[in-house]
Amino acid sequence: MNHLDELEAESVYILREAFAKLDKLAILWSLGKDSNVVLWLARKAFFGHVPFPVMHVDTEKKFPEMYAFRDRYAKEWNLNFIRELCPPLEATDPTLPKAARSAARKTLGLRDAVAKHGFNGLIAGIRRDEEAIRAKERYFSPRTADNSWDLKDQPPEFWGQYMTSFPPGTHVRVHPLLHWTEVDIWRYTKREGIPLIDLYFSRNGKRYRSLGDMDITNPIASDASTLDAIIEELETTKVAERSGRAMDHEAEDAFERLRASGYL
């Protein structure tokens, strides 16, 4: 088994554990490269099927390319697709910095969607290498009834035995990509031929490394216009992946506050 096979096998195992143990499960589909890989892995795990809903919590501020992509593949991949809308900006905590507020809409939208559908498990494509605080996540990460995450008191997780039973009212975030790195995502995308939104590729010397809302995501300078070029670029770069996302820089602890309240 090569490195990508190992990553894939581990993720497939986790997805199957989630499906076996959580009866109201959904995948969060942000339309970006990571959640596309999660979807792909689900189809691997379940032999071409995705046996639970795939949910997009829509800020309505994504790039048009992203919506076109979503509509196309929701159909082509025969997904049980759910779209939920985020509440307006006014509903968010006014003490947060601007970009963080706009991301906080997503948190609220997610909370509402979880309540509406009664999900007890949400699969999300976060990775440990994205940001220091995500490094502290577990594969199965319980959230309390109000969706919050207790950073300081997480259950131990070892020997492939995840926490899969919970007190009533808890739901759990499942993170099948936790052990992947950004370049792993690209290598796997290439190997498997996973479709992607064009914005990731360089146009006029710029490309997006991470896709958030249109108003809070900036492209980076790059000439990488193919998968190979992106992989090569990542091999040499030292710039943090989320540096194109405005909110991470606004306040040292904005990300942590968002996360504790349920942001991905």
């Binding site: 088994m1 554990e17 440990r128 710039v239």
Partner: protein, 619 residues
């Protein structure tokens, strides 16, 4: 040199303040893995806050940690050497956070263990070494840190290294190397230190690059714990991860502990080119079988040769993280492979002092302690010994939903029970009335109840009742079948076949079943019981514990089957008052479950029943 793509997982352990975070900061910086500008930003930040710069700040990316001054959780940081990428896990030394160290270390392929050269070997140095060996981290490099504080003395290094080498040796662990370093000054990290010309061995980065990636053992006997059985389309796919060994299409396999055999028809996959003909340890796969047997999550698939052992009692080396101590006789859930079982600790042989590895008798194992215990599970488990097969020879203990401990299995002194499992559950002991229903449920892991099978003669009641009894028994249920055979000869020996006697027969069965249910058992009663009124009476006896199960088959189907030739005899008039022929059958109006045996194959019916039972009675 072409860099490997495998990201090696490393854990860094050691006593608090012995320099773990400093080393991490050093490693990411000295290997050039830090994002541009990060070091400057952190230096500027410490200046703003009026604190002297520490390498450890590189790690303390979050507010909470900076405030508290100690690393609070397993943090994972990526860095690269020329040879390969690494994830480095700073496992904190603070006692409270042992569970995080366990999380980090258990998933690591190798460990760096730090010891302060000035302070020498401390409590956590030993405990962490002990845990590494228990968790199965085979490769350890011991770093004697802060050599700058002891004048880079070769002698001091030798003293510390020898003391710790002796400790590890008594655990049976042989470290890869001992390295004298100064994390803060950068001695012997990436480069050989000019301060210690007396040391010729590898630096930290060299030691890391010398570790070999962990892989699941493909040469051990096959073990694939079943994760799930999928029927998304026409295929019935048995899914799981191969923990050890390998398999090929056409192999004969056995599922334990249900002990059913089958042949592998295909290995299924999606978007992976040609259908694979074989698979090996580490792969998450799906197979279809030639025979339609009942398999479920928790079964372990192996070859016919070298199957796992089966036992409901075994020894275990345990480490305990729970807030409440581990106690004898208390029911816990253990998670083992893809299964779960209710388990009690029958005996604590001794607890182990991780400081000097001495043992002493004890009544309980306290938080952060370790010991050797005897465990009994309610149900039979398919298991291996941790010594030879770590992945299938260890388990996690759960209490109040949380993982609170881990154990390594040894079967020393206990026989393989594989031969014994066909024994039926017959030894019913009387129970005192001072025991509450709740306590029985807690002990058994399920509620008691009555599964009242009703249906025509030949509908399949007895066959399903006995098969269900067997399945439930291996799954750990307290279960017992009441049928004509065991009731007519004793309890109801004085009854004949007049309508009155038949009604009395059913009444007594209903009462006895209710008593069984009250005692915590699951009773399967298998009687035609044609009259609604009789069944209603049985329901009243057991109240909400009563579940009416309609084993449904048409009269034509039953008559065609006629396993005992009874229909023929009834048709000829030889048997009077035969249900369905010369006496009515009143089908249930609101059965709790209908099992159409003339529509579904037997194993589907059985699967349906098992699902129903798990859903209705599992606690």
């Amino acid at each position: 040199m072409q860099r490997e793509t495998h990201t090696m997982k490393i854990v860094i352990v050691g006593h608090v303040d012995h320099g773990k975070s400093t080393l991490v900061g050093r490693l990411i910086h000295d290997t050039g893995s830090l994002p541009d500008g990060k070091l400057e930003a952190i230096k500027a930040m410490s200046e703003r806050r009026g604190m002297p710069f520490e390498w450890a700040f590189l790690m303390d990316a979050i507010q909470a940690e900076r405030d508290q001054g100690i690393t609070i959780d397993t943090t994972q940081i990526f860095f690269k050497t020329e040879k390969r990428p690494y994830i480095i896990i700073d496992a904190p030394g603070h006692k409270e956070f042992l569970k995080n160290m366990v999380t980090g270390a258990a998933s690591s392929e190798a460990a760096l263990l730090l010891i302060d050269a000035a302070e020498g070997v401390q409590e956590q140095s030993r405990r962490h070494g002990y845990l590494l060996s228990l968790l199965g981290v085979g490769q350890v490099a011991v770093l004697v840190n802060k050599m700058d504080l002891v004048g880079y003395s070769a002698e001091r290094f030798g003293t510390v290294a020898e003391e710790y080498r002796a400790y590890l040796a008594s655990l049976g662990v042989e470290p890869t190397c001992f390295i004298p370093i100064s994390a803060r000054e950068g001695d012997n990290i990436v480069r050989h230190s000019p301060h210690m010309p007396w040391y010729q061995g590898p630096g930290v980065v060299q030691a890391l690059d010398g570790f070999t990636p962990a892989a699941r053992p493909a040469l051990r006997p096959l073990r694939m714990p079943v994760q799930d059985v999928y029927k998304f389309d026409q295929r019935r796919i048995i899914a799981g991860r191969i923990e050890s060994g390998s398999l090929e299409v056409g192999d004969e396999v056995i599922f334990s502990p249900s002990n059913k055999t089958a042949t592998i028809r295909s290995i299924e996959s999606w978007n992976a080119g040609d259908a694979p003909q074989g698979a090996r340890a580490g792969q998450s796969i799906g197979v279809t079988l030639t025979e339609q047997i009942f398999v479920e999550r928790g079964d372990v698939m192996s070859h016919l040769e070298n199957p796992p052992m089966e036992s409901s009692v075994f020894r275990a080396r345990i480490f305990w993280l729970g807030r409440k101590p581990l106690e004898i006789g208390k029911p816990y859930t253990i998670k083992f492979n893809t299964t779960e079982a209710v388990a009690t600790v029958e005996a604590i042989e001794h607890v182990i002092d991780t400081q000097d590895l001495s043992t002493r008798p004890a009544e309980r194992i306290e938080r952060n302690g370790a010991g050797e215990v005897v465990i009994r599970t309610r149900r039979l488990l398919a298991l291996d010994e941790a010594e030879t097969d770590p992945a299938t020879g260890r388990f996690v203990v759960v209490e109040d939903y949380l993982p609170v401990g881990g154990g390594l299995i040894s079967m020393e002194g206990y026989p393989d029970q594989r031969e014994l499992i066909t024994v039926r559950s017959t030894n019913i002991t009387a129970v005192g009335h001072a025991v509450t229903g709740e306590a029985r449920i807690a002990r058994n892991g399920h509620r008691g109840g009555v599964l009242w099978f009703t249906g025509l003669s030949g509908a399949g009641k007895s066959t399903l009742a006995l098969a269900l009894e067997h399945e439930l028994f291996t799954k750990g249920y307290q279960v017992y079948v009441l049928d004509g055979d065991n009731v007519r000869t004793g309890l109801n020996a004085n009854l004949g076949f007049t309508p009155e006697d038949r009604a009395e027969n059913i009444r007594r069965v209903g009462e006895v079943a209710a008593l069984f249910a009250d005692a915590g058992f699951l009773v399967i009663s298998s009687f035609i019981s044609p009259y609604r009124s009789d069944r209603e009476r049985a329901r009243q006896a057991a109240r909400e514990a009563f579940h009416e199960i309609y084993i449904q088959a048409s009269l034509e189907a039953c008559e065609a089957r006629d396993p005992k030739g009874l229909y023929k005899r009834a048709r000829s008039g030889e048997i009077p008052d035969f249900t369905g022929i010369s006496s009515p059958y009143e089908p249930p109006e609101t059965a709790d479950l209908v099992v159409p045996t003339d529509e579904l194959p037997e194993e589907e019916c059985l699967a349906e029943l098992i699902r129903y039972v798990d859903r209705s009675f599992r606690r």
